[in-house]
Subunit: 346 residues, 2 copies
């Protein structure tokens, strides 16, 4: 599957920097694969790419259950390596291991009002979807500031995002402009979204986001049997009772997945026509999808098993990436401190 | 003047740790001297004392005017030395030079709700007294979390505060208890207030807080002439028109200052009786106060001039204190990270 990007490097552009990452709150699944991981594997050949394992951000809504974060850090790194992210091309680093990110967040927090954070559409939607009640953690409300710290610390100019994350880019650039205005020089660089046109993959039950705890997703570590079971239970067209009945393709998770994963788009289109006319059973479409998914996941799962078995190597990759990132981010931090006049010790 | 403290060391207590500090937003004045600096000079002989020059906290309401902070850091250090704080006994350190403080703030921010911060009486009062309008900086709202980071990073158990700062102690201890409950062990120690009974010294115009920009305060660097002028302009009893009239002592700034600064309390009481009876002029009481203040400030001013002339020495003191504090606070940070399971690199 080819991704198309809104932003393109101009021939005379220097190599741009990309920052992406994932909250370390669970293993990655095929939604991540199609939505971002596959793209990152391509991007690492064209750009300077840093991937942040966002453990601190993961804590912003798991403060009372930190094991959900700590137990998934190496899982996420293994997922990266398994899909083909190459640590010699992409810097993989751990948010909590880079003190400058917390320090920058503190500086930037003086430039953003509480009201501005509360108006952020992404944060508003996420708060509505979570069960915080009246107890929104302060860390959660301010995570757009923390993201701005991440982005600017790496001088990232291209940020792969979905539509729903555009307000984060806007918030970051507001901070960049404010800081540059205080410094009277261009200390920080603005960033642009690298919009992915891949829509968010629905869960296997067609209901919502994929989540391991809901049992409605296919992980990159899923076994052959788990994939079989997941595809079998997949939501199709509830009114398509007999094979000969005309079936509906929209909202039919099997076809959404075929669109996303099957290599032959023409073949998928033929299947759709047949399904809509009647005469194609869910058993058949599921079998086609299952074969396709098994083929994609098998090599990923096998590589993943190899990587997750060597935790010391994973830690080492993360440590090396984090050390490199410390140097980079400390340079930015020093410039920001200088802008605030707080560079007393040089 | 003797200060009395609510908390007292028990004979079998280990030497407790004290954390105090000042926002670096202006030179210190005689209100600081009588309210806290004098006390600190005594405390440094009895306790392990750390004084934090709070430049980051100073930025929380000066994000757009950072020079107000940066230009005052060394002023504050010179003030400390001038009154007799001894860097061989008291650690003097700079908040922005201690990355663990920002990192701890980030961790703790996940344990405190936005609503909890908004209910904090100290923050509410301060917000009401400032001209933020609807633009309360996020950093300002969360400064109780930042203070909790400061206190816990130094394992401070005694915090010299005024009554109005008690909610800060409470907020800190809430965080301590939450974190210890997550860690299932006593990672952080609770702190207690060391309540000063010295009431806040009014400004010379009797109106509000002392402020250099309002021209209603006597700085530790004030010249003889400035002190003369400040005392002459001091607010007394507006109805005490002739020397023979009975005068009012309550709200009369000259008497408030005599109470605070004059070494002979009996003599001050005699003056009060005479003033209330009639027969004592403001010129006389002001002269007595002025002599007393000149005597107190002269040696401080002279020492201050010496210290402020050697900026390299001030920076060096601050650097040494900050380096020591980095080690201390990193130890606490590591324990907190371990509590959250984020100690992957040991």
């Amino acid at each position: 599957m080819q991704n198309q990007f809104q932003s393109k490097l101009q021939p005379d552009d220097p190599v741009e920097k990309i920052l992406t990452g994932d909250r370390a709150t669970g293993q990655l699944h095929i939604g991540h694969y199609i939505g971002s991981l596959q793209q990152r594997v391509e991007l690492q050949h064209k750009y300077q790419q840093t991937i942040l394992v966002a453990d601190l951000q993961g804590l912003t809504d798991n403060g009372n259950n930190p094991r959900k974060v700590s137990s998934n850090i190496l899982n996420v790194v293994a997922d990266y390596l398994a899909v083909g992210i190459d640590p010699s091309k992409t810097t993989i680093c751990l948010q909590s291991a880079i003190p400058a990110l917390a320090e920058l967040t503190m500086y930037y927090s003086n430039l953003v009002s509480v009201a501005r954070l509360q108006r952020n559409p992404t944060v508003k939607n996420e708060i509505a979807s979570k069960s915080f009640g009246s107890s929104i953690p302060t860390g959660f409300l301010m995570y757009p500031i923390s993201q701005a710290a991440d982005i600017t610390a790496f001088k990232a100019t291209l940020i792969p995002v979905g539509d729903d994350q555009l307000p984060m880019i806007e918030q970051t650039n507001e901070i960049v402009r404010k800081l540059n205005s205080i410094a009277q020089e261009e200390i920080l660089v603005e960033c642009r979204p690298l919009l992915s046109k891949v829509p968010r993959l629905p869960s296997t039950d067609g209901k919502s986001k994929m989540s391991k705890s809901m049992g409605n997703c296919i992980l990159l570590s899923s076994s052959e049997k788990e994939i079989t079971k997941a595809v079998k239970s997949m939501y199709t067209d509830p009114n398509h009772l007999r094979i000969d009945d005309p079936g509906q393709v929209e909202g039919n998770v099997v076809f959404t997945y075929l669109d996303a994963f099957h290599p032959d788009i023409n073949y998928v289109n033929e299947l759709k026509v047949k399904y809509q006319q009647g005469g194609l059973g869910d058993g058949t479409t599921k079998k086609i999808l299952e074969e396709c998914l098994q083929e994609i996941i098998k090599p990923i799962r096998e590589r993943r098993e190899m990587f997750i078995a060597d935790k010391a190597q994973l830690i080492d990759i993360l440590r090396q990436g984090s050390e490199k990132s410390q140097d980079e981010s400390n340079q930015v931090l020093n410039r920001v401190k200088k802008a605030f006049g707080l560079n007393l010790f040089g």
